[in-house]
């Protein structure tokens, strides 16, 4: 293991080499970077709709239709508190992620900030955490959302 100050310097150099010019400028000025994503998060919608999918065939069978409707209503009512926030996030056209080495990424959408209780399983220097969060959010956002229980 090398001294923390050296590890920090190495991580900073690595991070700077992996940022875009705009991100580098923002990180130097504020110690954080912003990533803006557009469009529907289909992975969330499809995963939530898959929950009710097993009930749908019941609706096609006349004998089971009433039971199907009742079951569907129960599931929808039970899951509504979870669905409202998840669907709201999934259909937001513009999502801004704020990434710093101090905490997990913060999502700003529809005028509110959402904080997630997610961490790396290994200890990393702050600049490495910024790089790793950036990679996840930019290149594998559904993986992050799944771990954060949004999906």
């Amino acid at each position: 293991m090398i001294p923390a100050i050296e590890a920090h310097a190495r991580a900073e150099r690595l991070l700077h080499a992996h940022l875009t010019a705009a991100q580098r400028e923002e990180y130097t000025a504020t110690g954080q970077i912003s990533i803006v994503k557009y469009g529907v998060v289909w992975a969330i919608l499809l995963r939530q709709l898959a929950v009710v999918l097993p009930i749908v065939p019941l609706l096609a069978v006349p004998m089971w239709r009433t039971l199907g409707v009742v079951l569907l209503a129960i599931v929808v009512v039970a899951l509504a508190p979870f669905w409202v926030s998840r669907f709201s996030l999934a259909i937001t056209r513009r999502r801004e992620w704020v990434i710093s080495g101090r905490s997990a990424p913060v999502l700003r959408a529809r005028g509110r900030a959402v904080r997630f209780c997610v961490r790396f399983t290994e200890d990393l220097p702050a600049a490495d955490r910024v790089l790793a969060w950036k990679n996840l959010i930019e290149l594998s956002e559904p993986t992050f959302l799944k771990t954060a229980n949004v999906m």
């Binding site: 992996h18 940022l19 010019a21 997610v118 790089l131 290149l139 771990t147 954060a148």
Partner: protein, 74 residues
């Protein structure tokens, strides 16, 4: 030279190899890559413009691969 970077408490550890030579260094990089992904780590190919893509198989022709630890919580 190609490089595999493993993010850790030291900043990162590096394994370098020549993409044109299938030697011990390349085998070591491949073995490390496979072992980390089996343990739930993520691999990203980095490009020169600050972007890249997630990868799930080792490609010795990639210039730079970053391995980072799994995430937990929720």
């Amino acid at each position: 030279m190609a490089v595999l970077r493993v993010l850790n408490v030291n900043g990162d550890d590096r394994v370098e190899w020549d993409p044109e030579v299938a030697d011990d260094r390349m085998r070591r990089a491949r073995a490390l890559f496979d072992a980390k992904l089996r343990a739930g780590w993520f691999a990203f190919e980095a490009d020169r413009e600050g972007g890249g893509s997630q990868i799930r198989t080792f490609d010795p022709k990639k210039d730079e691969i970053v391995l980072q630890p799994p995430i937990a919580g929720g």
